[in-house]
C-alpha cells in the first residue's frame, strides 16, 4: 500500500504484470475513488468553464458528452487535467486528480461565486474503472436488462445517469471500458461481483503501465504548473478558436505559440535491457538536454518505454542516462499500444 494524494492505495493486488495483461486481454477493475468528483450547478456553469478551461465546453451540446481539458494558471502552466461531463445547461460534472483536490476546489470556487455557480464535491460517490476488451459486457451483466441496454448503447466519451449510477465510457488505459460513479455503500459488493465474474483486481502499478503504453500523461510527472500544454503533447486539447473566448492562461499560451515552444513531449522506446525512469537525463546531439518525465517497463512490448521533455528540434533518436550508462532510445509517436496492439515497430 502507498499513500497517493492522501489515499491509502495498493500498488498491486498480486502480480502487477498479470493485472496489466488482464486489462489488455480481458477485463480489470480499478478502485479510483480517490479521483475528485465535483458537480457544478447554476445557469452560468458553461460560462464559468469557458473561462476556466483551455478546451472549450461550447463543444459539448449533447447531454452526457465528455471533454478532456487542462485547467491553466495565468502563466499557461497546468494546474490540473480533468474530464468534464455536460449533463444539462445548468449542470456539469468534473473529474480531476486527488493530489490537486484542495487547490482545484479553491481555484474553481473563487470564480464560481461571482457567477452564482454552486460547487458540490461528491464524496458520497465511489468510482470504479472497469477496463479491457471484455469490460463492457462484464459490467453490463451486473445490471437489469433495461439498464444494461442503456450502458451498452453509450458511445465513447459519453456518460449517462442510470439509476443511482453514473456510467461513462471513458478510461485511462487505452482499452474500451467504463468508469462508474456509484454510492460508496454499493462499491464493495459491486467490486466483489465483478471479481466473481472474472474481472481482475488491478492496482496503481498496472494503472501506470497501462496509461503510459496508451501515451496518456500523468499530472505532476508529465505536466505541472511550470509546463504548458503546448510543451506537454496536449496542444490538441487547447481551443484557441474562437479567438474571442478569454480563458485563464490564454495570453501566455498565445505568447508562447508566437515565439515557439523550446520543448516538446515525446515518446521514447529503449531497446536495451534497462528501464527508463522519471528524471533520467536525456542527451540530444548538438541540441542540449531533456528529461524523462515518466518511464516504465511495458509488459505488452516487453521493453522499456517513457515520455520525455526534449528540445523541440529533437529528431528520431536520443541518448538516455540510465544508472551511469548512456543508452540509445528511439523517439516515437504515442500511443505505444492501443486496444491491445503494439503501434511501434519492435526490433
Amino acid at each position: 500500500m502507498v499513500d497517493f494524494g492522501g489515499w491509502d492505495m495498493p500498488v498491486a493486488y498480486g502480480s502487477q504484470i498479470e493485472e496489466h495483461h488482464a486489462v489488455r486481454r480481458g477485463a480489470g477493475v480499478f478502485d479510483v475513488s480517490h479521483m475528485c468528483i465535483v458537480d457544478l450547478r447554476g445557469a452560468r456553469s458553461r460560462e464559468l468553464l469557458r473561462g476556466l478551461l483551455a478546451n472549450d465546453v461550447a463543444r459539448l451540446n449533447v447531454p452526457g458528452k465528455a471533454l478532456y481539458s487542462c485547467m491553466l494558471n495565468d502563466r499557461g502552466g497546468v494546474l490540473d487535467d480533468l474530464i468534464v461531463y455536460y449533463l444539462d445547461d445548468d449542470f456539469f460534472r468534473l473529474v480531476s486528480n486527488a493530489g490537486t483536490r484542495d487547490k482545484d476546489l479553491a481555484w474553481i470556487g473563487a470564480r464560481a461565486e461571482a457567477l452564482q455557480v454552486k460547487l458540490l464535491e461528491r464524496r458520497d460517490l465511489a468510482m470504479l474503472a472497469i477496463q479491457g476488451p471484455q469490460a463492457r459486457e462484464r459490467s453490463a451483466a451486473l445490471l437489469t436488462a433495461e439498464a444494461a441496454w442503456s450502458v451498452l448503447e453509450l458511445q465513447p466519451f459519453f456518460g449517462a445517469q442510470i439509476g443511482e449510477w453514473f456510467v461513462a465510457r471513458t478510461g485511462y488505459t487505452g482499452e474500451d471500458g467504463f468508469e462508474i460513479m456509484l454510492p460508496t455503500a454499493e462499491a464493495v459488493s459491486v467490486w466483489q461481483k465483478l471479481n466473481a465474474a472474472g474481472v481482475h483486481c488491478c492496482g496503481l502499478g498496472a494503472r501506470d503501465t497501462l496509461r503510459l503504453e496508451a501515451g496518456m500523461n500523468l499530472y505532476g510527472n508529465d505536466m505541472t504548473e511550470q509546463t504548458s500544454p503546448l510543451e506537454s503533447g496536449l496542444a490538441w486539447t487547447v481551443a484557441l478558436e474562437p479567438s474571442d473566448r478569454d480563458f485563464v492562461g490564454r495570453a501566455a499560451l498565445e505568447a508562447l505559440r508566437a515565439r515557439g515552444p523550446e520543448h516538446k513531449l515525446v515518446g521514447l522506446v529503449l531497446d536495451e535491457r534497462a528501464v527508463l525512469r522519471s528524471h533520467q537525463r536525456v542527451l540530444v546531439d548538438s541540441l542540449g538536454e531533456g528529461e524523462v518525465t515518466s518511464g516504465t517497463f511495458s509488459p505488452t512490448l516487453e521493453r522499456s518505454i517513457g515520455l520525455a521533455r526534449v528540445p523541440v528540434a529533437t529528431g528520431a533518436s536520443v541518448q538516455v542516462e540510465v544508472r551511469g550508462r548512456q543508452l540509445p532510445a528511439r523517439v516515437v509517436r504515442v500511443p505505444f499500444v492501443r486496444h491491445g496492439k503494439a503501434l511501434i515497430s519492435l526490433v
Binding site: V11, S15, R273, V275, F297
Partner: protein, 129 residues
C-alpha cells in the same frame, strides 16, 4: 510470506547465502525482497571469474517499480551465474530460494558466512519491513 528456509544465512541488505556441499556459496535475494520489488523484468549478472569483496555490488535486479543492487554477502570469486534469469527473471518472484538463485561464489575465506544472520534473525528484520 512463505517460510524462510532455516539452512540459509542472510545479509541485512536482503541477500541469502546457501552453503553448497562442494564448498561453494549460492546467492539470491529473499522472498521479502522480491515481494517488495514486485515483478522483476531484468537481471544483470556478473562475469564468471570476477573477484568480489564482501558487500560489493555484484548484480542488479530490476522490477517494474525500481532497480536494486545486489551485494555479495561474503568475499569470493564468481564461478557460476543463473543464465535462466536472463529470459525468465520472474523465476525470482516465483521461487526466490530455489530456481531464482543469482550466482555461485567460491568464498575467499571458508566460514565467512558465520558473520551473517540466521534465518530466524532475518525473519525478525523482514517483519519490521
Amino acid at each position: 510470506m512463505s517460510d524462510i528456509p532455516s539452512e540459509l544465512k542472510f545479509a541485512r541488505s536482503h541477500e541469502w547465502l546457501k552453503q553448497l556441499p562442494d564448498g561453494l556459496a549460492e546467492i539470491g535475494i529473499s522472498d521479502h525482497a522480491q515481494h517488495a520489488l514486485g515483478d522483476l523484468v531484468f537481471v544483470e549478472l556478473p562475469e564468471i571469474g570476477r573477484a568480489l569483496g564482501a558487500g560489493e555490488s555484484c548484480a542488479v535486479v530490476e522490477s517494474v517499480k525500481a532497480a536494486s543492487d545486489v551485494y555479495a554477502p561474503v568475499a569470493g570469486t564468481v564461478v557460476a551465474v543463473n543464465d535462466q534469469l536472463r529470459h525468465t527473471p520472474e523465476l525470482i518472484n516465483r521461487d526466490p530460494y530455489g530456481g531464482g538463485w543469482l550466482l555461485r561464489l567460491r568464498p575467499e575465506v571458508p566460514g565467512a558466512e558465520a558473520g551473517l544472520m540466521s534465518a530466524s534473525e532475518y525473519g525478525v528484520l523482514a517483519a519490521q519491513g
